[in-house]
Symmetry: C2
Subunit: 307 residues, 2 copies
């Protein structure tokens, strides 16, 4: 089934111990869409400037992504610069130029109204809420957020969390929302705010999914999927968004949403994140096959499963 | 089969957000021995002062641990003070009083000579080497070390690594020994120094075991076991040593040492580490049953295994 995804498209300038690239196509939504495109039909809602060329759009359309919801406006596309020279686990931001993204008001094409799945990438929680409320018939909504919104727009974020079925954030964000240093306790508090499931991303150590009692089946046990030990992480940018793309994309490809499917989705998230970091920008995500993806799924399984 | 283990016995003063304890029985070897005691016979080689009472020794003997190799000398036992008030993942050391441990020269009782398994907890690498060379008939040697020895006695450490079959250290130590920021690459370099297997402990995210090509079976894939998300980590002290105790103890209880057994051992390591942190000091490790341990093993399995 189709996923409508809303978020940022950007041009990134990235330095890591493996090299440097300038103004490559990036942004959370781009990583999400490319990763999810291997599982299901993806529809993008975003805004770009007049520096976003046909060639950039082709990166997405070649993967079958529906780009009709990308609004083209006068001005420059969002630009971000960061480096991982001291720490591969966390970017040091060098510059952020919001440009046309600053006034972003998501516009949903009529043709997208029948979308069954929705992913709200990291944008202002009020925009996330508006998008959700403007879509009837959405079966499941996934969402992301960040420390900036947790600190600056907590009220708006709480309103949005009531509408999100599965929240995908990291350890620090989970503890920050809950104001609790214990991860399982913080997870329970976040689930009490609305989501039926919470995916906590641990970077190089994988991710854990926590379920609200009774959601997607029986039991309260969490489930943890590893990340692959990667020989050379060239560029960690977009790993979390690619994870979300693999996770949501796999869910949208399934008929039933039960715990077993959500566990597998967590593995597929890890798989897509592991591919993303192997090359700069979205390079690796542009050229995969479903066979490569499923082969790596098996590697993840062997990495964690007793015989 | 029996494990001979050599290392430190100490009295710890620990503060964490959950409280504070003073001069409780601790030290790497104590945690190791208690954790391993649920799987096999453990023999300790250590040194203590005259402040180490019958009551302290009973903590160990009640668990069936052989304490004949604990040397009693004049003076005070090793004391350590640390706190986890800012960060549950890493202790801030408040004081270290080596006391009788400073002149520790491990003495192996004749009755210990038939030990099949050896664990060299974190002590000077030259002492580790001497212990190993003084024991014939050891089937498998596990070892630990720390940043201090990596930085200050690298030559001695390299000599010891040639005699260690399975090294158990953390991410930072692995990268430090190999001088490489990529974990899989660093692991391969460490394995080239001697060990057939390397267990890298990731703290709250579990552990990964890397195998040298051809060691303990076929293949080069690593294996990763999770740590349990713990509701309240009261005291992280000794988690890594308890992990090593569960890991080595389980190995010593098995007839054959193949990859499947090593994978299970990694799970048992995580299980014992997860118990250790639930109470201050060794309290939790003193009162377990094998049933509780195997029940938690199942929880770990459910936490990670797809259906």
């Amino acid at each position: 089934m189709s996923i409508l995804a809303v978020g940022s498209v950007a041009f990134d300038t990235i330095a890591s111990p493996s090299g440097r690239v300038e103004n490559v196509l990036g942004g959370a939504l781009t990583y999400f869409a490319l990763a999810a495109s291997y599982f299901t039909e993806v529809r993008m809602v975003a805004v770009v400037g007049d520096d976003f060329t046909r060639e950039h759009e082709n990166v997405l359309t070649r993967r079958g992504v529906d780009t009709r919801g990308i609004e083209h406006t006068k001005g420059k596309t969002f630009r971000w610069g960061g480096q991982y020279l001291d720490n591969l686990n966390e970017a040091t931001t060098e510059f952020t130029e919001l440009n046309v993204f600053e006034q972003f008001q998501p516009k949903i094409p009529a043709a997208y109204q029948d979308s069954s799945f929705l992913f709200l990438a990291n944008i202002h929680p009020s925009l996330q809420k508006t998008v959700r409320l403007n879509l009837d018939g959405v079966r499941l909504t996934g969402g992301d957020t960040m420390n900036y919104w947790i600190n600056h727009t907590p009220k708006e974020l709480m309103e949005t969390l009531k509408l999100v079925n599965i929240l995908l954030i990291n350890d620090t964000e989970t503890k920050m929302i809950a104001n609790d240093r214990s991860l399982p306790r913080a997870a329970r508090k976040v689930l009490a705010l609305g989501p039926q499931a919470l995916v906590v991303k641990h970077g190089e150590y994988g991710a854990t999914i926590f379920f609200r009692q009774g959601a997607f089946g029986i039991g309260t046990h969490p489930f943890r999927a590893p990340a692959l030990p990667i020989e050379e992480v060239k560029d960690p940018t977009g790993a979390g968004d690619s994870f979300a793309g693999g996770f949501m994309g796999y869910l949208a490809s399934q008929d039933e949403l039960n715990r077993e499917v959500l566990k597998r989705a967590l593995f597929y998230g890890g798989v897509m994140g592991s591919f993303a970091v192997e090359r700069f920008g979205t390079e690796r995500l542009q050229q995969l096959s479903r066979e490569e993806i499923d082969a790596r799924f098996q590697v993840f399984r062997e990495l964690t499963h007793l015989g």
